[in-house]
């Protein structure tokens, strides 16, 4: 009787083992369209990288603030002095930060003398690492969090019809987004189930910025 039980268990274990797959599923890549790369997505939407870098600067500054407070020093004064130093940076460096695709992201024309433009300066000031003398180099070295970039597509981009890569020549004739969905998404949905998701997957025309459906 006991042997029978043992054999049954062995059989059961064998069956379970045979049915299971050794393939490890990856929840990150599973939800993304074929050919998706974080770098490619970031290239189409540089704003994501800009926000990421700003967050990074913010975390750094919060750490500096925390350390200074522990030492009993006034953070506000240190920050004000450092901000003044940032504003007084070499205009060429400021222009570079302003025009960088992933930093300021402003057109080159607006970046001739950023210090003169109050709105741009306010934006750029958020790139100031407090206590770091060479801000530009530090900014270019901020590590890219690819997970945060690619998951934005899963959480928001795809449903809102964001292009995930540049179009190739064959795709330029494909239709764009459905106007009804664009209109529906322009207003905030009253509840989660009233939200109209865009079922399509799009690429972007690098020249015009127009969206085209990707054939699946």
């Amino acid at each position: 009787m006991k042997k029978l039980y043992q054999y049954t268990m062995i059989l059961l274990a064998g069956v379970l083992g045979a049915c299971s797959s050794l393939e490890v599923s990856d929840p990150y890549s599973e939800n993304l369209p074929a050919g998706f790369t974080a770098q490619g997505y970031m290239d189409v939407h540089p704003i994501l990288r800009k926000l990421q870098i700003k967050d990074y600067v913010e975390v750094h500054n919060a750490y500096v603030q925390d350390s200074l407070q522990k030492l009993g020093l006034d953070y506000a004064a240190v920050k004000a002095a450092d901000d003044a130093a940032f504003a007084a940076l070499d205009p060429a460096v400021l222009a570079a930060i302003c025009a960088d695709k992933f930093l300021g992201g402003y057109p080159a024309a607006s970046c001739a003398n950023p210090a003169a433009d109050e709105a741009i300066m306010k934006d750029l000031m958020e790139f100031n690492f407090v206590g770091v003398p060479d801000d530009f180099t530090a900014l270019t070295q901020v590590p890219i969090d690819e997970i945060a970039i690619s998951q934005q597509y899963v959480v928001f981009g795809q449903a809102h019809g964001w292009a995930y890569r540049w179009c190739d020549a064959t795709e330029l004739a494909n239709p764009g987004r459905d106007q009804a969905i664009i209109d529906a998404q322009a207003k905030r949905a009253a509840s989660a189930d009233k939200f109209v998701a865009d079922p399509g997957i799009y690429c972007m025309d690098a020249a015009t910025g127009a969206l085209h459906k990707v054939n699946q």
């Binding site: 006991k2 704003i47 994501l48 926000l51 990421q52 967050d55 990074y56 975390v59 750490y63 925390d66 969090d145 997970i147 945060a148 970039i149 998951q151 934005q152 959480v155 928001f156 905030r188």
Partner: protein, 733 residues
């Protein structure tokens, strides 16, 4: 299951067979054993080993008055300190069987000076042990307090050696040690379990020994009061094991000792921001070999032999402190970019405090020594000559063998004195009073517990409300940790230069090395790290009438600190130690064939180093112990001790706004004592003594104010002299 059944059956049968075999063997021995046992019991009963309870002990009543004077005292400084006490040490021994014994020692101490404010006087127990020799005297065990010694490189207590120390001094030293539960042997005072097995003669082997020791050690000075009396959450343990074989006068042994901090208990408290907690682990493994020709050639008047040991050590420290831990989490955030609402994923890395564990030290080293000796007894001349070589790596560390029982640096008598110059106060606080005072005097008080004596004050010598090192009022002393040793919650307090604590290497106060009373060349005994050289010893005793001793040590420390003569900067230098000591004693009474002892003793010793602080220590000892008439004996002693710091010994401290830096150049100490002792009963005495203790210190100092400007500087001399009178009656019962 079938298999199990078979196995059980097999085990059962074999167990039966085995027990049958042992029972058979036991039956044969039974007769011999009972015979032996009855014989031993008879012997034991002769040896006062009567079953039941026995009480004996010592009662001492007396006074100790010390009158001190110094030009450096402040006008309002107290100059007199009195102790009037009755001290009773009770020893209770109970024998539940002829083989084992329970030993409890209690101390009752009444201070007549403060008797009016003692509402109740606690009795403290200072020895609890259960000892025995069991299993046909093959196994010795100690449970509780015990003294254990293995070998000079594993478990050992380095002791002070003063050649031909007159009885008036040695008795005082023994008494100061006893107040700390210590004795003059090189065994360590421990609390735990010790089991030793001796096989006795087995064929060609004379003895096979095996020993296991486990003890709980003091870990750190405690700063925070525990909720439940004195239960210390910081545990530290010692585990020791050794085994040996003896045959034909040769002994071969293997020894192992491990000291460890138990992390779990130390971390039961939250670490504070500025805390760093160290976990020490010290392991030593050694092999010792000795040979004595006496056993192989018993007929020769001279025997010779050797003893040596090789040890390997590992010292590992890791530490915990609060560090930052970065935690990455993602937040979905909505943001308005140029009028368009977008959602993106924010990398929200937060930093939080977390305990960081870090390896701090990991060192291993070897140590080796070998001694050759010859000893004998020719025409009533008993002699022993010994010479040896030792070599210890800089990285060798054996904690259990390295902490000397004498640590000094306390202020024993007139500790309440006040000084005009803050440099003098600093010297007394850091460098301590004279080493002769520390070697020979101790004060034992029972005082009502109060916040003052449970904490330490910033001012070293008295209970004062001066600020601490950070200028806080009523602050704790910056030397708090080093003084917690004196903190007995029972209300019994010491001022004593001895300690039984096993100090960790990180704790070992560098100042401890500066008092050559314990040995300039080998402050931590044979286990002193970074030493190489030769030692030699001669001891001669002619029929207990004339005694002669000599010691020579020539050692080198390869990696000592030195000073470059050209630049005046510190550099690594080789330090050569040269030590020698000669002592001679004669019992004139015995030489002149009188019926009384008139022992005259004297010795001279000098120790020198040629680098580091360029210290020189000289000691002259002389004394007389004489039976004058009937029960009256005269005791006298003289000792002069001088230590010079060629390169000056510097230290600093802060007093409120002032910063004081001191460099001690020379210390000259002298102690003259004399007195009479009257024998009242076989081991009961009345003793009256007078002593004069002087301590002169030459030093240079500089005082700077809060702004860093020099306010005072110069060369000074601190000289304190103390007149000491003691009178006491000691009764043994």
């Amino acid at each position: 299951m079938n298999f199990n059944m078979n196995m059980r059956k097999f085990l059962l049968t074999s167990a039966v067979a085995f027990s049958a075999a042992t029972a058979f063997a036991a039956e044969n021995q039974a007769e011999v054993v009972t015979q032996q046992k009855s014989l031993l019991e008879k012997l034991d009963s002769l040896n006062a080993a009567v079953l039941g309870l026995k009480i004996n002990g010592t009662a001492k009543a007396g006074v100790l008055a010390s009158f001190s004077s110094s030009d450096q005292y402040a006008k309002e400084s107290p100059t007199q300190e009195n102790q009037a006490f009755t001290d009773v040490d009770l020893r209770l021994t109970a024998r539940p069987s002829s083989e084992t014994m329970i030993d409890v020692e209690l101390r009752l101490h009444k201070d007549w000076q403060n008797s009016y404010d003692e509402n109740n006087n606690p009795i403290i127990g200072h020895w609890f042990s259960y000892d025995g020799t069991i299993l046909n005297k093959h196994v010795d065990f100690n449970l509780g307090y015990m003294r254990v010694g293995y070998t000079p490189l594993t478990v050992f207590a380095p002791q002070t050696e003063i050649l031909q120390e007159p009885e008036i001094f040695s008795e005082k030293r023994r008494e100061a040690l006893a107040k700390r539960n210590l004795d003059t042997t090189s065994r360590r005072l421990l609390q735990g379990l010790n089991v030793a097995y001796n096989s006795g003669s087995v064929g060609a082997v004379d003895n096979i020994t095996a020993q296991l020791t486990g003890a709980r050690l003091r870990n750190t000075g405690k700063k925070v009061d525990q909720v439940f009396f004195d239960f210390d959450f910081s545990d530290r343990y010692m585990l020791g094991a050794r085994a040996g074989v003896e045959s034909y006068g040769a002994h071969l042994g293997l020894n192992f000792v491990n000291l460890l901090d138990r992390k779990l208990t130390r971390r039961s408290r939250q670490i504070e921001d500025t805390d760093t907690i160290y976990y020490d682990n010290n392991r030593v493994f050694s092999a010792d070999l000795s040979f004595d020709s006496k056993k192989a050639l018993p007929t020769l008047p001279v025997s010779f032999g050797l003893n040596g040991e090789f040890a390997m050590s590992k010292w590992k420290v890791d530490r915990d402190y609060l560090g930052k831990e970065v935690k990455v989490s993602y937040k979905v955030v909505e943001k308005n970019i140029n009028g368009e609402r977008i959602v993106y994923i924010k990398n929200a890395s937060t930093t939080s405090q977390a305990v960081v564990n870090q390896d701090y030290v990991d060192e291993s080293g070897n140590s080796f020594y070998a001694n050759l000796f010859a000893k004998g007894d020719i025409n009533d001349i008993d002699f022993k000559v010994e010479a040896g070589y030792l070599k210890t790596d800089e990285k060798f560390w054996s904690e259990m063998a390295s902490s000397p029982v004498y640590q000094g640096r306390a202020v024993i008598l007139n500790a309440n004195a006040l000084y005009t110059n803050p440099a003098d106060s600093l010297i007394l606080a850091t460098y301590g009073a004279s080493s002769l005072e520390n070697l020979y005097f101790n004060v034992y008080n029972s005082t009502t517990l109060q916040a003052y004596n449970l904490m330490t004050s910033a001012n070293t010598n008295s209970l004062s409300n001066n600020g601490d090192l950070f200028g806080r009022q009523n602050g704790e002393s910056g030397y708090l940790y080093s003084r917690l040793d004196n903190n007995y919650k029972n209300g019994h307090f010491y001022r004593n230069g001895y300690t039984g604590n096993v100090a960790k290497r990180l704790e070992l106060d560098p100042l401890m090395e500066l008092d050559p009373s314990v040995g300039l060349a080998l402050p931590f005994g044979l286990a002193t790290p970074d030493r190489k050289g030769i030692t030699a010893k001669v001891d001669v005793n002619w029929a207990d009438k004339v005694f002669f001793n000599a010691r020579v040590n020539m050692l080198t420390q390869a990696n000592s600190l030195g000073i470059d003569p050209a630049t005046g900067l510190a550099q690594i230098a080789e330090n050569k130690f040269t030590e020698f000591a000669v002592g001679i004693g004669a019992d004139i009474g015995a030489l002149a064939a009188l019926d009384r002892q008139i022992l005259v003793q004297g010795s001279f010793s000098q120790a020198k180093e040629n680098a580091y602080l360029k210290r020189t220590a000289k000691r002259i000892v002389a004394g007389v112990t004489a039976d004058v008439w009937g029960p009256i004996a005269l005791l006298a002693g003289f000792q002069q001790y001088e230590k010079e710091f060629g390169n000056g010994f510097g230290f600093g401290g802060a007093f409120g706004e002032m910063n004081v830096a001191v460099s001690v150049l020379k210390a000259s100490e002298r102690l003259i004592m004399g007195g009479i002792r009257v024998k009242l009963a076989p081991i009961s005495y009345l003793s009256v003594q007078y002593g004069m203790l002087t301590n002169d210190l030459d030093y240079a100092y500089a005082i700077t104010g809060a702004d860093g400007a020099l306010t005072a500087a110069g060369a000074e001399k601190l000289s304190i002299s103390k007149n000491i009178i003691t009178a006491d009656v000691t009764v043994n019962f």
